[in-house]
Subunit: 339 residues, 4 copies
């Protein structure tokens, strides 16, 4: 559900050509006239072939069609409502919104969820697995509800996890992520902020000290929020994220040692590529792929470290990661359908 | 009035630094909460200095402020209403909309004007001078109402006028303008069509056989509509227009002769630059200037001619031309305030 | 050979995931230090995995590796030299350059080929099949040498073929293609013309009456060159082509009839999508796909027709079409490896 | 000299319309065939009018033409050679390169200057005034040699100066500038790095821990290099810089107090605009102006501060600042010729 949005379109594209799947069922959003009819109406790149009709949500119809897994590429409000229903109907869910990513109430506050049944919501919050395969492969495999991570959060968590988990970073000196994202990350709504003339030939910072993904990052990395600064910027490109991350190591290290920590952490994890310092990834390199690309530069003092993390916000930052999670949930190879 | 729009902002910028003018009075649009307060609220590039407050429209206040000339950078519906009032209050008007550009009812139909007083509207239609200085310098000088030309129309008319007026073009073989415009030409409204992700990495044709500027072009060039095809396209750039124009000459000519017609036609007209064939103008060359740049290539048969005409849609295509018209209306040098 | 160029990179990507193929052999270009080592050196998006080494050209080694089909994504000069050798060694070839596309000497003149052995070159010219599957499916299937069409030419020929082949177009009134291409079409060489600052916020026409693809178009459509005007423009986008094509029909037709000709012509041809008038394709719709998208608008006189043809210059305009040709040469489904 | 480069073109434009100046003399660079002839050859936007011929460098001819002030928009190697000559001939110089900006040898090392006469070079180094009017207005007024600041450096120094000079920043906790620049900052040379396809739809970090402007910033702000991290990025836009700057205040402050420090520091300095928190400047706001725009967000702890500084790299970051310096050198209003 949600195939008309940017992430939903990418997801549909991936599911349509996934070798393990039959043709996916596309669901229109309730009471949303924007999503009735054929997908090609909303996304003309889906023109041709036999068409991609979207059907109204009907749980018994879905059961009849033997749908086992529901992908939600819907706003978080919709996901808060739909996930309890879906799970009550015996489905597993991969939710691409922010609705179920956060365990800690302090971080969840920013979303101002209005749940019909708080107890059920709490239960699902407990149940939900944060769908970052590089950190939670095992629990994803058996999860009923996978909360697909935010695009910014994915880029930052994957960049920081190797060194933070090894206890090498002096967190009290601050962890800063200066992140830049293409406009598709801001969604499909036409606003003054997304008008071509407002974005082209421009760059702007926004939501400083105030972005929803901050909680995810802190929670997943077990970081005190007071140590983390995350500044998102809007880039004049359609898609792609680059996070430039600044940390201070507890003790001086060599470039080789830092690189070794990264390589060892991501050994056997096919969707993260570690660049050899001082080579750094660029947004283009991972565009239209499911890779998260990591690189770093270390100051000659051996302590000041600049990390660069890049990914395609619609793939590793959304739809691609959702498919990667599905692969794990079904015991398939993590790369299937993503090449 | 209309300083918050793209053309209005450019016009304000030009008027603020025009050496012959005092500080212009900015008027907010009636009942339009979007245009109350300081201009910087809507266009942050106007931040700083002492501010640019917009005042409500009040004819007697304008009289008190000794305002003689009103620029309207408003939608054509607003201009149809405001122009009769302004002229009744003794002002001269330069209207940047399409409200008063067309003399022939057949071309005007597409606008579906709803005039309160048809007789007054007809009188003003008669009175209005099409504000293309290169064609109508004398009548602009004394005009009460100048209808500032459309951006596409300016680029096409200036490209075609030298050869058409000399009777050199075989009109029955067709006159085609394949025109491409930056997004500011589509206005400031946030729509799916102006969303960054819809425009970036894209090009699209629109309003084929159906664009409002077709009438202006036909009328000014005295062309039968059935001889003219005008196809606009939306370019992934903020501003600028390039028209590629195809005509067939009645008899074979040399490159030198064609060039001579252009040069002679625009002699003494400072805001048109004629490039020496086969050099062609590009959008960048006239960006942020009031120039219309013209160039051409002639096939070796001496009859098939490709013209290229470029201008900045917000300057020579709108605000710059409006200032050029004002200069003529006041007997000043045409270049004043436009360098 | 030629994997480091833009078309070559796309081709490599397609061949790597084609379900019928083993890992392709990448060949470095002779004496070209730019192409030694691993492909990731030149195209960092190929980083990771086990690497993509490029090997020197050695015909006996290729025989040993049981290579049957050679793709050349090289400049036309290189292709003129390499194709005779490859065919002498018993290989079939798909050549993406302009080296073997033209049968008529008048059109070939613009390339100024310097062949070592004119007789062999003439023979291969005779032998070569123009690799546009929608026109030459049968002869491609058995071809030894496929001359993969130019990107502009593909967009224009596919747009015009249905009506021209049915004799519906009044050719003497002229056939005009106003075409616009992304910058990857200009190749990877860093020149003042491809500098970001020269291209961004710009549009320019070039090679008016003088582009190499004109011959292909005329030859394939059996058009007298004097009836055809083809004007290419450089768009500020990385990839994609849109051709706006102007023709005059011999007799008035209805929109339905014109549409029917298109649909019938492309029936069973999976890589052309015909849009229902007045819907028109845009560059985005076919980007990153192998589709050529066609649409049209007909004037109310029933004779003046504006066609719009879009494709991705690196896919349907180059690498995708090359794979489509390979599929035909091996009797596989035309769509294989291209979804 | 150097009118063909990006900064040089902007400078020429400004000087041509500066109300206090006669027509500037354009000098071609020695032995540089690229810079002979008319400026329009290299920058077609200068077409038309009576032309802008560039003359060879001849000191006696310049004396005859009563040239008093020389602007150098040349590479730093050329400036190292030319400045001693110009000053020996009694001229004042504004040098836009990095040749004379640094007093401290440790920072200068990165340039690897090869001076013919070290003593003269040392003398000029001593003599040179860093041309940042907001910091050095008085010494610029009487300077013989003004070293016009780097574009990145201007954005960062102006952002940091108010708080650093007041001793409010805890420097030991690090000062980080994550800066992003348009491509014109990388110069006019066509390289793989500046190819449109390499830059568009991309973002990349470069010269991490290693950019030449680091020395300027440290020197002007009296910062220990070990406290400063400066990471430049290449944006897919032609011009404009945004620096996101991270500092930690020694003691908690209120938003109002921080704002007051900025406003007071820039009181009477017309080319810096301070935005009211939490409003932040964007690149577009200062594009095509000589403004440096500053804004900030303060965390609720009152100590973590994110500054945003924007400017047009070709104006306040180069040519505009050069004109501002000239205005001071001649005792004219700082704003003259820059509106």
């Amino acid at each position: 559900m949600g195939a008309t949005g940017y992430s939903g379109q990418e997801l549909t594209r991936l599911l349509l050509r996934h070798p393990r799947l039959e043709t996916p069922v596309l669901l229109q959003r309730d009471n949303d006239t924007r999503s009735s009819g054929d997908l090609a109406r909303f996304a003309p790149s889906f023109s041709g072939n036999s068409g991609y009709p979207m059907q109204p949500l009907d749980w018994s119809e879905l059961k009849r069609q033997q749908v086992e897994l529901l992908f939600l590429a819907t706003p978080h409000e919709a996901s808060r409502t739909l996930v309890p229903e879906a799970i009550a109907h015996g489905m597993r869910v991969v939710d691409l919104s922010g609705a179920w990513r956060l365990k800690q109430a302090q971080h969840r506050a920013i979303y101002q969820f209005e749940d019909k049944d708080a107890a059920i919501a709490d239960g699902l919050t407990e149940l939900a697995v944060y769908g970052l395969p590089e950190l939670h492969r095992e629990s994803i495999a058996t999860a009923v509800l996978v909360a697909n991570p935010g695009c910014y959060a994915t880029s930052i968590i994957l960049g920081l996890a190797p060194l933070l988990s090894a206890g090498l970073v002096d967190e009290r000196r601050g962890v800063i992520s200066d992140s830049k994202s293409g406009v598709s990350g801001a969604g499909k709504d036409a606003t003054p902020r997304t008008h071509f003339v407002s974005v082209a030939d421009n760059l702007s910072a926004y939501a400083v000290f105030n972005h929803r993904h901050t909680g995810e990052i802190a929670e997943q990395l077990d970081l005190d929020s007071s140590c983390l600064i995350f500044t998102p910027h809007l880039l004049p490109i359609p898609r792609g994220i680059l996070s430039t991350i600044y940390v201070h190591l507890k003790s001086p290290m060599s470039v080789q040692d830092v690189g070794a920590y990264f390589r060892s952490f991501y050994d056997g994890k096919p969707w993260v590529r570690v660049f050899t310092s001082p080579n750094l990834p660029e947004i283009q390199f991972s565009l239209h792929t499911n890779y998260c690309d990591l690189g770093f530069c270390l100051d000659k003092d051996g302590q000041r470290l600049v990390l660069v993390s890049c990914l395609d916000n619609l793939l590793k930052g959304a739809a691609g990661q959702a498919v990667q999670n599905m692969n794990l949930m079904y015991g398939w190879c993590e790369k299937e359908g993503l090449n």
